[in-house]
Amino acid sequence: MTNWPREEGAGRCLIFNPTYLFASHDDDFSMSRVSKSFLSYAYLWPALAVLIALTIFPTIYTIYLSLSEYKSYVLTHQFVGAKNYIDLMNQANFYNSLHVSALYVLLTVAVSIFFGFVLALALNQNLRATSIFRAIVILPFTIAPIITGFTWRYLFDSNQGLVGAFILPLLGLNFGSILGNPTNAFVGIVFADVWSKTPLMFLIILGGLQGISPTLYKAAKIDGASVISSFMHITLPLMKRALIIAVILKVIDSVNSFDQVYVMTRGGPGNATQVLAIEGYLIAFSNYNIGMAAALGVVMIVISVISISILIRYYNKT
């Protein structure tokens, strides 16, 4: 073969290649290898510094706070061990918030993914107006959650709200008060969240659907498969990974949901919609007990990590 001159080092990965580092090479290159590896790791420090500052340090500090007595009206902050956790577990509201959050996560994840899937299936066509409809579907996601909360708070008002005072009575649906009734208020916050977050699920699922080759459907059709059969045996299996990603993102979002719910109901009426995040907010800024709020934050981290680990493990298996 004709020998063309090659650029020195071409084809070698200089950034990070442990096998290259530990392979036997000429000794003449050992010092430059060490300096190159140091240089390689040095490029990681900016990203690491940001990670430490914004994620690792706050987490460690939160754990520290959760083990301290930290109240705004007490000047000393002594170490109290698990006292904050014990006090938290002794509060009836904690278990109520846990229950409300669990139900909230379950419903918002299931309903938003369901509707996201339906919309994605419907709009996974190359028709003329598909792009316009896709843009319309995405619109609610572009609105800030706090604005969404305010909007639905006034829409649901049974005296002056467009939905509560006009649309629902016109349709003959008399639920009474929406935000003033415990059950209705819970349904209301789930509805508002689904309305706001379904577009995100739609985008993720649509991306997954568009990754499925149409030839599979053609082949299935040739073999006599029905629409439902194609869906069950082609679409769903190939969509598993995208669906799991969607579930993971929505679970994270729902567990940490605060602003939209707080603006709509303040956790009320009573404590009917008091999710864990609102409970933590009240403990920190109404009860002035930062230590107990940090303990609740740690509990929320544990819950999130466990549930997401299970999902990621399932994702890796598929």
């Binding site: 073969m1 935000l179 003033g180 009573g270 009860n287």
Partner: protein, 547 residues
């Protein structure tokens, strides 16, 4: 063929020609001589050359692309840096060239002014004579003060919840960002006054004190005594009040006349006669559902608890057994909470019944803005019990409705005590201030007679100074009857209608929550009282009140 100049540079036309030639030759040979293995081998070699050459070209192209990318990024960074420098330079140039204030005020000293920072909510309501309500630019009275005293006052406005969080963060960090902070009398005053994070103000106005600082704006005896009592904790004054309001019975005189209903004087009359009569009349003429007898707030927050506490006081209830209301008293007497008492349970029950039976079903989610909106839009005959909310409704509502609003003394309970609350928007000096003397002068200026008169005449007749409350100017604006109600209610209010303990706000939040729950049918009044009792006891036990 070999070309030693082929390496990292852009592919030359000669190289491209080689590439094309190799490829076409190889293809042609392969196609023509299938059986001739030597020709085939040559063709394949040429194909190999072509592939290698292509790779080289791609590599060079990638390198060139990479170089172009680096160059572009470098150019972008240079442009950004230039823009930033230009922007900063332009800002300072503009500031230097900006015209001076046109008030003609000339500084009296060349020394650098001291800066005092204050944080509050209600932008567009408070101190609109000092800062423009929309642009936040300082106005003439403030500039005159700043010139005379060489003190610059910077105000930071935000919504109420954010203000409380910022104050909390400032105290927690000890940064001293705010010299003058919000210290309202049902919440922050108790929290920060009890922990010594606010300056006791008596050291500034007591002549024998080493920190005595005379101020032409301060007259202790002119403040409404109940307002000063509300701003005091354990005998020390920690804040000065800006506006102070008590309760009143606020109603629509035209609707009372229409349904032939009298203004009640007792809670029993209100619950058994007034409200049912209004409801019956509205049902009879088909307006019930569009109009309600009463507007209340019921959201699960401490703001609802402020009104519930007025009911507790009216029913003769107290927070602690024995009626104790300070930390020292409670600890000394080991006084347990009394939230499961008959009086407190009756108070919660009555308040919840008002909201459930005589108001909109949305009441358990209503905050003060929705309560005001309901009354202001003509959909409620009564707003109870806060007077200030009724004034807001009257000031910003439709004149055809607001002209019919009237004020009467609040009702009394079975023990003869009024259903009264008192609350002050008050401000204190942070212990972390860098200049307490300047902060004191600024604070007294902000609470002075002209400021309070401007507010009371323009917005609500709820000043904290007697000279303003009793002034003929205010009476001319609001009417003699209305002002007499305000004066009387302030006089008979009790600032200790809630306990003055640092846990007050936490207990109030819980009180709002259980009241909202009763109103929504989630729990019964006895269950609410017991839940509140258990919560308060656990909280106080945890805070070392009981051993």
């Amino acid at each position: 063929m070999r070309n030693s100049k082929l390496s990292c540079h852009a592919p030359s036309p000669l190289l491209r020609m080689h590439q094309h030639r190799s490829f076409t030759m190889s293809l042609g040979l392969i196609m023509r001589a299938h059986s001739d293995s030597s020709i085939q081998r040559k063709a394949y070699h040429l194909m190999g050359d072509f592939i290698t050459l292509s790779c080289e070209l791609n590599l060079n192209r990638h390198k060139n692309n990479k170089k172009v990318a680096i160059s572009t990024m470098a150019a972008a960074i240079v442009v950004i840096v230039i823009l930033v420098i230009a922007g900063v330079a332009g800002y300072y140039l503009y500031s230097a060239m900006a015209p001076a204030q046109t008030t003609g005020i000339i500084p009296t000293t060349t020394a650098a002014p001291v800066t005092v920072n204050i944080i509050t909510f209600d932008q567009g309501l408070v101190w609109t004579d000092l800062w423009n309500a929309t642009t936040n630019q300082p106005l003439a009275p403030l500039l005159e003060f700043e010139r005379r005293y060489n003190i610059n006052i910077n105000v930071e406005f935000d919504d109420e919840a954010t203000v409380r969080q910022k104050v909390q963060a400032d105290f927690a960090s000890g940064a001293g960002r705010y010299d003058i902070t919000l210290a309202d009398t049902s919440n922050l005053l108790q929290v920060y006054g009890s922990s010594g994070q606010l300056y006791p103000l008596d050291q500034f106005y007591t002549q024998s004190s080493p920190n005595y600082t005379p101020s032409e704006f301060f007259n202790y005896t002119d403040f409404i005594p109940k307002a000063l009592e509300a701003c005091s904790y354990e005998g020390h004054l920690y804040a000065l009040p800006y506006f102070t309001f008590a309760s009143s019975f606020n109603y629509r005189a035209d609707l009372f006349q229409k349904y032939n209903v009298q203004v009640p004087t007792t809670i029993s009359e209100m619950m058994n006669v007034t409200l049912p009569a209004l409801k019956a009349g509205m049902r009879a003429d088909g307006t019930y559902g569009n109009v309600y007898p009463i507007a209340l707030r019921g959201e699960p927050k401490e703001t609802t608890a402020l009104d519930v506490n007025a009911f507790i006081y009216g029913f003769g209830g107290t927070w602690f057994q024995g009626g104790y209301s300070t930390v020292a008293e409670v600890k000394a007497h080991h006084a347990l909470p009394a939230f499961n008492s008959t009086a407190v349970v009756n108070a919660i029950k009555t308040y919840a019944m008002m909201g459930r039976e005589f108001s909109t079903l949305d009441t358990p989610s209503y905050d003060f803005s929705k309560e005001i909106s309901l009354y202001q839009s003509g959909k409620a005959a009564i707003l109870f019990p806060q007077s200030v909310n009724a004034f807001v409704a009257q000031k910003y509502g439709d004149p055809s409705i607001t002209s019919k609003m009237a004020y009467a003394p609040t009702v009394v309970g079975p023990t003869g005590q009024p259903f009264d609350e008192i609350w002050s928007l008050a401000f204190g000096i942070s212990k972390f201030t860098h200049n307490p003397t300047a902060a004191w002068l600024a604070l007294t200026f902000l609470m002075s007679y002209p400021r309070q008169l401007y507010f009371a005449e323009g917005y609500f007749p709820n000043p904290s100074l007697l000279s303003v409350l009793l002034s003929p100017d205010l009476t001319k604006v609001w009417g003699k009857d209305t002002m007499q109600v305000m004066i009387d209610e302030l006089a008979r209010s009790n600032p200790h209608f809630i306990a003055y303990i640092p846990e007050a706000n936490a207990i109030n939040v819980k009180m709002g929550e259980v009241t909202s729950a009763v109103m929504a049918g989630q729990m019964t009044p006895p269950q609410a009282g017991q839940a509140l009792q258990d919560y308060a006891y656990q909280l106080l036990l945890s805070d070392g009140y009981y051993s």
